[in-house]
């Protein structure tokens, strides 16, 4: 099962790297879906026992992260009439370079991190979960479109998910399902917010939204 864990982790890693380097929002959404599908294998491959808990978690992750959220984001993108391009503050080549730097840092950080309780089933899990968290934050900070920031949030959450699945043995099903539910609600709220922002202002550029503060008034609406 270890090889399968590694494979799905590496697929997720490559999907994140491609998200950093791709210029189309639709492709980014698809890549995040690929990531979700790859990660839904993790509960099955890392656990020793096959009970209903494990299967429920895997199927729930697959449905929510692999199908439901990408479908909803695609729908939001179409309805809000978002342009196809990502429009980054930091270019795609530079993003990839930053991504490799973050990957190196995560591998180094994971190698020096002391783990008190038990060894993770694979050495890759820890660095890749760190990397997902870092690149999620990086995507949130470096992309102009609000939709890409939702995607960055999803990538970040995937990192936390890997960390939880692989390192915390026997997490209660209720906690996992609660996290998934929170994620769904969060993304739906963000999607609806994006839809309304774009209806109101005809764009979803996050850098122009700060014009809404009290000092400037609603000049940014133009």
């Amino acid at each position: 099962m270890n090889a399968w864990t590694d494979t799905s982790l590496i697929v997720a890693l490559l999907a994140v790297l491609m998200t950093l380097g791709s210029s189309r929002i639709a492709l980014c959404i698809r890549l995040v879906a690929v990531q979700g599908i790859a990660l839904s294998l993790l509960p099955v491959t890392t656990s020793d026992t096959f009970n209903s808990h494990v299967w429920l978690l895997a199927v729930g992750t697959l449905l929510v992260k692999g199908i439901l959220l990408p479908w909803f984001l695609h729908k939001t993108r179409r309805q809000a009439d978002v342009p196809r391009e990502v429009e980054p503050y930091i270019g795609f080549g530079a993003s990839l370079l930053v991504g490799t730097a973050m990957l190196t840092a995560s591998f180094w950080g994971a190698s020096v991190l002391p783990l008190p309780h038990h060894q993770p089933p694979t050495t890759l899990a820890l660095p890749i979960s760190f990397f997902c968290v870092f690149s999620g934050l990086f995507l949130v900070a470096s992309r102009r479109k609000a939709l890409m920031q939702v995607l960055g949030y999803l990538v970040l959450e995937n990192g936390i998910y890997i960390f939880g699945i692989v390192l915390v043995k026997d997490q209660p099903l209720l906690v996992e399902m609660g996290v998934l539910l929170d994620l769904v609600v969060g993304v739906f709220v963000m999607g609806i917010a994006i839809f309304h922002i774009s209806r109101e202002f005809e764009h979803i550029d996050a850098d122009r939204l700060n014009l809404l503060n009290d000092a400037v008034g609603r000049d940014g609406a133009a």
Binding site: L13, L14, L17, G93, L96, T100, L103, T122
Partner: protein, 298 residues
Amino acid sequence: MNVLIGFILAPLLPGVIHRTKAIFAGRNGPPLLQPYFDLLKLLQKGAVYSRTTTWVFRSGPVVGLAAVLIAFLIAPFGGGVALLAFPGDLVLFAYLLGIMRFFTVLAALDTGSSFEGMGASREVTYSALAEPALLLGLAAVARATGNLSLSEMFGGLSCASWTAAPAPLALVCGGLFVVFLAENARIPVDDPNTHLELTMIHEVMVLDHSGPDLAFIQYAAALKLWLLGSLLVGIALPVHGAEPWINLGMALAGMVVLAGIVGVVESCMARLRLIAVPRLLLGAVTLCLVALLLAVWS
């Protein structure tokens, strides 16, 4: 022995690529041995030199061919040991290809043609991105096998290393395939068929060469295709049986399949826009870097 096979069979690879493309397009296409006929025809012709060129222009093809011939002595093929093998020869290998490129670029600049200057500038831009990918990929393989010489690295690879740690090797294969296409001016990066309008990278640099010089350049290009292809096949098909003939046969079959894959890629894809090529090469660098990190830390 392996070196001789490479020298003799190298021009066959472009022939296989052309055949694959012809089959895909439903044409008759050139015969499989057309590259040999071209080389013979060019060698019988005389060379024409422009009055503005100097010895640099004439030395370009010769040095290029010499560099790639020396690189042949280092590269192992078909599970055998290369003629020359010492720790760190993978760096020499990369830079022999670098010398070849450098002299091609110098010869192109020496003609004084702005057209060739543009091709030279693009060639060095792309190879500056392809070279880190090649070195990082070889470094990942070196790390995975624990050897620093190409012969020992490829001798150390086996089917067991694929089952033990498939991820780094697969990533290196992906990265090196992009390098292979870029360095040999194949389609997603450069279009080898159109000399003028579309590509203006590799083919445009050799516009002023004629006769035996052009034959040298084409033969050197075929040898380079064979060399980088043999690296790729060596990683993807590390079969080391007891019988040397079987190993050699497997490697040769791998080369033919690789040429077929290149033909399929060229038939199915259009050339990328110039702006998109650096991103592709950067992707290759990233793949190789991830492979190196995986090889180091797992």
